[in-house]
Every structure is written in C-alpha cells, then in structure tokens.
C-alpha cells in the first residue's frame, strides 16, 4: 500500500512534467520568432527530462514491488496492466505511452491547450512559479531519489520562471492587444490554478511522512510571486473563483485525451517500435 502511494505520487510528478513538456513542444517550429521557438523548445526538453527521471523511478519502484512477490497487476491501478501482473517489467516508456487519460495524474492546468502565445506563457508562468517553490521543498524529501531529481530540476525551473515572468510582464505591460490577450488567458486559466494546492490523498499521506511536499506551505509563496509579477505587468488577479479539480485523481478535461492520442499513437499502433 505504501509503495503504491509512492508510485502514484511519483507518477503525478512525472505526468505534470510530461504533459506540459508535450504542450510546449507543440510550439516547436511554430514559435512567433526563431529565438523564442528555441527557448520554448529548450524548456519543453527540460520538462520531458524531468518526466523521464520520475518515470524511471516509478518503473523501478513498480518492478521492485513485483519482484518482492505480493504485487499483481492490480497493485498499481494504472493501465500498464497490459505489461504488468505477469512479472513483465515496466519501463519509463510503458508508463508514458501505455497509460490512458484516466491513469494520468497531472494537474488540469498543464493539459490546457496552447491557445495563443499569451496563454502558453501564462500557463508556463503559473506552473513554473509552483514548481519553483515545490522543487525547493522536495529537495528536503526523506525519499532520497525524489530529493535528487528535485535538486537537478530546481535549476531548470529557476530559468523557466525567470523567462516566463519576463514575458508575462512584457505582454501585460505591452500594447493594448498584448494586454487584452493576457487578460483573456487569465480568464481561461485562473480556474485551474487552485488545483495545484489541493492535495490528493497520496500527497496527504506522503506529506505526513516527510516525503511529499506540503502544498499549503508553498501556496503563499506562489501567491506572492504571482502578485509581484502581475503588479509589474499591470494585471489584476481575479477574485477567488470556483476552482476546477480532479486531474490528480485521473478526472481530466477533454483536452488530455487528444494530447495522448497524438503522443501515444506510434507506440499504440506499432508496439515496441524503436527508431
């Protein structure tokens, strides 16, 4: 049971990074200007790298669980049952490519469609501000593997936050049109920001053990960061509104299915295909 909780948590972190990384990568070749196309593609690669580290760890936990006996396919509720249960090893690839949307544990924010540059920037800013405080804390996790991944990722996210903050300010404090677009992005994304700080059961259990990050502790840091950047950008945070949740439990918006369909197509159509 404890192992399953840790696997769920690790997958939640992996899914967050993978889904946002994939979304950002959709801009590759379509960026508004070559330099920014490269910048966002770099960030996408950072996130996918983080996801790989978490998936590799989750796969190892899962395989250890199987070799210890007790674990059958249902040990992990994930759709990797196709590869699990019979003692077949799961890998980072099976976790990324062979789970369905209801198995994914990412926050709703990261799966939202790119929209225009303003929306993509704001989504990244919200999430980077969250990851910045999050990885800072996770470095003190009692799980040494998670702490190590957090330490490496923290440096990357520090830059993501700097880059996205700059852009929020530029667009918010830019032209009439860029300001309007930022406000529209804010309208569309704000309702998904609250979920970042609403812990799922696996987060609660592991936070008590000093393994997971206590989300209530980082919420105020996030709010301060957003306030500071919004002040410079001339943007106003919406009053507390209804917050959409469910992603961490596998209840997603309609967008995730389309994302997975594209991302997973090759492995679904040609299982085990390598190139």
């Amino acid at each position: 049971m404890e192992q399953k909780t840790l696997i769920d948590y690790t997958l939640h972190l992996a899914d967050n990074a993978l889904v946002l990384g994939h979304r950002n990568s959709e801009w590759t070749g379509h960026g508004p200007i070559l330099e920014q196309d490269i910048a966002l593609s770099n960030i996408a690669l950072d996130l996918i790298g983080q996801a790989r580290n978490f998936y590799q760890y989750a796969a190892r936990l899962r395989n250890e669980g199987v070799s210890l006996g007790g674990a059958r396919g249902g040990r992990m509720s994930e759709g990797v049952a196709a590869t699990g249960g019979g003692g077949v090893e799961v890998t980072e690839d099976t976790l990324a490519y062979l789970r369905d949307s209801w198995d994914y544990r990412n926050c709703l924010l990261v799966e939202q469609i790119n929209g225009d540059w303003a929306k993509t920037i704001l989504r990244l800013f919200f999430f980077s501000a969250y990851q910045y405080s999050f990885y800072q804390r996770l470095q003190q996790s009692r799980d040494r593997e998670l702490a190590a991944i957090a330490e490496k990722s923290y440096k990357e996210v520090t830059y993501h936050l700097r880059w996205s903050s700059e852009w929020v300010i530029r667009l918010g404090d830019g032209t009439e049109e860029s300001h309007r677009r930022m406000e529209e992005a804010l309208d569309q994304l704000w309702k998904f920001s609250g979920e970042l700080f609403v812990p799922a059961d696996y987060e609660k259990v592991l936070a008590e053990k000093g393994i997971a990050v206590d989300l209530t502790a980082i919420r105020s840091q996030w709010e301060e960061r957003v306030d500071a950047v919004f002040r410079q950008a001339g943007l106003t945070k919406p009053a507390a509104a209804w917050e959409q949740t469910g992603g961490k439990q596998g209840r997603h918006t309609e967008h995730l299915g389309y994302l997975l369909a594209e991302m997973q197509f090759l492995q679904r159509a040609y299982p085990g295909c390598e190139w």
Binding site: I33, E35, Q36, A39, N42, Y159, R162, E166
Partner: protein, 101 residues
C-alpha cells in the same frame, strides 16, 4: 536581403553575441540574433548559443553599434602587411621546455 526590412520581425533589432567558453579565455563572437532589448538578447543568447555547454559568460552588443572596416579598402588596409615577415616573432631560438608558443 532587402525584403528583410519590410518583414515585421525586423522591428526587433539585431544583436551580436559573444560567448566566453571558460574562465581565462576571451569572449568570442558566435553569431547574432533578434531581441527587443538587452535583457532579452542575453536570454535568447543563452537559449540559442549555450544549450550544449558552450559558455559561462555572455556579452551582447546591438549590431548597429558595431562599426566595420570597409571591404573596398582591403587593399590599402591589409596588403601592405604581406611582405613584413620580420613582424612575426619567428626568428628566435626557443628552448625545448617552452611549449604553447
């Protein structure tokens, strides 16, 4: 070339990028890119020119501030140095212990 001026992207000025690959070495010109200001130019340079561990320090200079010699004057500028071999320090006997010269 002339078309570039009519593209909207030309409203982002061009910057020349210099990267220092490690301590003790000098900054080398690596290329140019577009950015709206110096802060963005440095970030763009980081993303475009240091993604394979090429550098530890970045300088950016807006291209319009770089003044260049005129190619038409190349003959009078450079050709006279052609036959002045005595300006090279190659006539000294160097001890064997001395390397990297």
């Amino acid at each position: 070339m002339e078309n570039q001026n009519t593209e909207s992207r030309s409203s982002w000025p061009l910057w020349e990028i210099f990267i220092r690959s490690k301590q003790g070495l000098d900054h080398k010109h690596v290329g140019s890119l577009h950015a709206v200001d110096a802060a963005m130019a440095i970030e763009n340079a980081r993303d475009v020119y240091t993604r394979r561990m090429e550098g530890i320090s970045i300088w950016v200079v807006e291209s319009k501030y770089v003044h260049a010699s005129n190619p038409d004057e190349a003959a009078s500028f450079y050709d006279p140095a052609n036959d002045k071999v005595y300006r090279h320090p190659t006539f000294y006997q160097l001890p064997d212990e001395l390397t990297h010269m």
